[in-house]
Symmetry: C2
DNA sequence: TCATTCGGTCTACATGTGTTGACTGAAAGG
DNA sequence: CCTTTCAGTCAACACATGTAGACCGAATGA
């Protein structure tokens, strides 16, 4: 087996193991030794290939960017619902690591905040009413709450199929995007 | 100063410092030494008074139980909205520790899950429709998402006043409790 | 007043962690 | 074929942490 190929395989195994463990236990409770063991490798090698635990985490917990969101409020709602349905699908190991580490690891917190803020700005720009930012924020909060409740907390009713969940949550998002409170305070 | 009084004061200072630090940094990143320092005390004393870091955390991160929730769907909605408004108020240091530790500390996770499940069961029991459990679960998820987004993530639009937030989120809860999807699947 | 309790402080230990560096053997390439 | 490179392994170090125990001085109570 050629050397570059071998190296690539090992790096992949380490990265996969890191993603799993960071996602299962968070940053602090995950040790380099545990990652190496699960990857069938060695702590020293992990360090040599990724530099430090921090750098390894940065690579493992990168959040894949959502596609752009634009159009009329109805189209916005449609895209948000599609995106959320995807996030509720099973085994989203990619963002799980960042999500779990978010509360104890400052960099992960920034990662998540940035990802959420980006989507929120896009949505708010298309909504009318002076509470557009609040409404888009609530959309983000609802999304975050659903993902966390399902995948991290494993809350009782949230283990239903994505379709069933969206049958309940979908109308909420539509209401948040299209149903505008009239301008002017109460 | 009498001895019992002195002891009570010191214990209180330690418990307060513990709540703050656990809430700010989570369980793993909070050290006994840091707690002792913030409390103007000593690590050994913390151990002697609380037994272990685990026991101290258990006392510091106990979640105050919500009052019972019951009545017609309209009354349910009203009570849920009142409870959420309270949770969105500023400085909820009590549950913050448990909330932040939830994702890395198994016991804290159980604590939060139990608290949420309890409320969820009460709500679901009063709702009609065969998706009652899902709807009450989504209520819990929305609540969790809002609290986390506001206090932990500090998401952009969520720094509005509780009143403004509830003007947006309130109708969602009403819809989830009163607006029932008709029995029978789609 | 004198012995005792106990809040408080200090030091030390065992352990687990990230990280480093030396070493080994096989692939690479002239 | 011989030298160089490099993936992989092993042992060790420096450090932080939870925890235990010795010690000191003031409040307590007989």
């Amino acid at each position: 087996m050629t050397r570059v190929e071998q190296r690539r395989r090992t790096e992949t195994r380490i990265l996969t193991a890191a993603r799993q463990l960071f996602g299962e236990q968070g940053f602090d409770r995950t040790t380099i030794r545990a990652i190496a063991t699960r990857a069938g490798s060695d702590p020293g090698l992990v360090m040599r290939y990724f530099g430090s635990k921090e750098k390894l985490f940065a690579q493992a917990a990168a959040i894949p960017a959502d596609g752009p969101i634009e159009g009329s409020p109805e189209q916005i709602a449609e895209q948000l619902i599609a995106a959320l349905t995807e996030k509720l699908a099973d085994e989203p190991t990619a963002a799980l690591a960042a999500l779990r580490a978010m509360f104890t690891h400052p960099e992960a917190a920034e990662e998540v905040r940035a990802a959420m803020a980006a989507q929120q700005q896009q949505v708010a720009a298309q909504l009318s009413g002076d509470d557009a930012l609040v409404r888009s924020g609530v959309i983000g909060a609802l999304t975050l709450g659903l993902v966390i409740s399902r995948h991290l907390v494993r809350l009782d009713g949230l283990d239903a199929s994505p379709a069933e969940l969206m049958a309940v949550a979908g109308p909420l998002i539509e209401e948040l995007t299209t149903g505008s409170t009239e301008p002017g305070h109460n």
